[in-house]
Structure formats: C-alpha cells, structure tokens
Point group: C2
Amino acid sequence: MTTEDFSITDKNRVKRSYKRASYKKETVYHILDSSALAHVAYVIDNTPFCTPTTHWREGDYLYWHGSSASRMINRLKQGVDVCVTVSRLDGFVLARSAFHHSVNYRSVMCFGKATLVSNEEEKYRALNNMIERFFPKRTDEIREVTQKELKATSVIKMKIDVAAAKMRAAGPQDDEEDYANPIWAGVIPLTTIIGTYQPDDRLENGITPSESLNVWTSGKRLDDVLTETQQIYMNRLT
Amino acid sequence: MTTEDFSITDKNRVKRSYKRASYKKETVYHILDSSALAHVAYVIDNTPFCTPTTHWREGDYLYWHGSSASRMINRLKQGVDVCVTVSRLDGFVLARSAFHHSVNYRSVMCFGKATLVSNEEEKYRALNNMIERFFPKRTDEIREVTQKELKATSVIKMKIDVAAAKMRAAGPQDDEEDYANPIWAGVIPLTTIIGTYQPDDRLENGITPSESLNVWTSGKRLDDVLTETQQIYMNRLT
C-alpha cells in the first residue's frame, strides 16, 4: 500500500471534470489490478495505433507480452512513448435530460516508455509471473517454458512515469427544474462475473480444478477476483 | 446487413494469428454494436494518448462526444488520424503450459480521420441519437437539448476507412505431449450482465421505468442488450 501521488504534468493532468480525477498511486493501482484488459496506444509514422492486451503490474511497472513478430512488439521494442489505458463501464446513468445522461466508470491512463525485456532470466520470470498474477501457484503445476517458447514471445515492461485515474460513481445530477419531469431516472449497473467452467474436450475423466483456482468461483465479480489474485501474487513476490 | 469487406492495407492487416482475423463489415459492426466502450488513440506532439469513451455507429461512421474543453476534442477537431479500438474479454483459457494460456476475446481496430460535427442541426440530431442508440424512444420523454448544452458539447464523427476484427473463442490448444499432464484445463468464461436498477434518490414515488427500458432487463447479457437496441435504433433511422 502506498500513500504517494503521481506528479501532475501536461500529459496526465485531467482537464475536464477534474473532481472525478485522482493522482493517488493507490487509486491508480487498484484500477489497474482489478482489470485484465489494457489498451496500448503507440505511434508508427505519425499514425496512432491502439492494441488491446492483457497487462499485469509489479510495483511501478506495467508488463504485457506479445508475439515477437507482431506489429506492436516490433514498434515498442524501439523504446517508444506509450499510453496504456485501463477502463471499465460500471453502469449507465439515466437522467431527465439528454445532457445529464452519463456513465459510471473507472479508468486510468498511464504514460511511459516501453522497454523490451531482453534479459533471458528476467523474461522467463516475467512469463511465469503473467500466469501467477492471474492464477497463483499454477506455475507449480504446468509444464515449464521452453527455450523455443521464450524466443517466440516478447515481454514489454513500462515504468509508469505519470498516471491519472478518472472515475464516476453516482446517480444522475439533473438541472433543478428538470426534477419535476415524471420520468424514471437512476443507474443501470453493469457487472462482469465469472461464468461456469468449461472443461477442455480432451480433459481426462476425474481431473478437477486445482485448489489454486478456488478464488475463481463462478458467480463472483471479476474485479474482486483480480484484486484478490494480485494481492496473493504481490505477497509471494516480497 | 452487409456482405462487404473492408479493404486490407498496411494499417489494418492482422500480422499475427491471422486466422483469428476478419475484415468483414458484418463482423466488425457486430463487435462495435455489442459494446458501449471504445478506446480512442490520437497523437499530440508525437505523444500517443488513449482516451476511453462511449461510441455509437451509424452505417460506416463512428460517433463519440466530449466536452468542448477536453484535450481529446481539442486535438480531434483538427481532423487528425485516429485509431478507435473496441474490445472485450470473453474468458481466460487455461492450458497445460504457460505458453498456451490465452484469453478469449472480441476486438476491432478502426482507422480513419476524426471530424468535428459543426453543423448545428446534425449535432443536435447526433446528441439525440446517442441516447436513442442505447435507450430507444427515450428522447420522446426527456427534456430537449438547449442551445447552451449544444455549445458545451462537441461531437466527433469518423468514417471507418479500414478496420479489422480479431477474435478467439476456443478451448486450449496444447502441445500433443502435454495432454498427459494431469491438470485441469479449459475456459473460465466472463460475462457482463445488467444489474438491479438503482432509482435516483430524488425519484418521486410511483414513477417506474418506461416501457422503452424493457429491453434492459436485469440479468441479461450487456452485449445482447446493446445488439438489440442498436437494431431498434437502425430500424428507426431508415
């Protein structure tokens, strides 16, 4: 847990609805850690690209991986500027005017320079950590990463230089004179939940999910599960 | 419904796992229409930015809006290149080796030039359409958009020049020799669902949700609801 803030620069300063903003590391990290989907923006020949990927965090560093032959990796290994955004919708906000309709959300924009993890040992550790971060202890049970697999995969690491979180979690805020309009207003919440496990077609009879998957209970909220597994992962790292 | 494809250029050609790719407009549009969250990448002074926003589609055009004072709008109104990515995670794929762990997902990257909707009438229509697209018929019930609100809001429109969808929806594909490893493998699915309506604190007693909200039934999948409301919206446009 940290009580630090990110410094505020031209890049991460939230210009609109700044009351919804936070530069606290604790807030930024919580949003990053409770999601498994990031969008990475980078520039090639002045053209912006936005690639979705699965990210994970270790301290002030974000990690993601990709095929060594992918466009994203080929660009990012040059050590370029990236913006990594993680966001999710928590609900639709229905107001009494179009203008005050809104969404509840949690989002974070992180800025930094991409670096290729070139040290073999660090890369091996990172690829295991990617599994451990989501499924703690699973690397004890799966077959080890081979040299060939290490070659085929690239890992990108980014120190979060500056970041900002932006959130909305409230009901509609209508103009005073509109409250008299007899129309339903409120929030329609959205939740992402863990579904029913689908065993692989070739799974042998009698093989059940390991105890390490207990945290991934069907019906639970994804953000809760990811927060829990990140906590287990961080505790094992230290 | 369209049977057309997007042309394939250097921008949208899927380089890795190209079997997961599709350039069919029908596929691209379905992914766009079944989601309410887009990530817009753009460049300011060679630095990439990735801003999350709520999008909607009309034919070959994507729309989104923002405060006239926001960084994104200030940049995009200059008519610059953008990449709009819409993606969601459908599940975690657990394999018998780290390398074959994966995620099931649906994503689409759209490329084009942002344009500011400057015609007042078109802008008024667009702001109503943003509500209609999610909540068909709701603009009949809410208070009309005022001139002041029109000024405070900017609408961006982008013709989708090229786009590519990329999807994975399958169980693990392990190396033949790893199937003997007695570990659970399969898919942990993720679903985003509509929660229980939260009425506004100031809602007067006896006001219930309009019939137009019937499609937003609690417990339904968000992607299904969004696909349905887009269909209703498109039918009313034509």
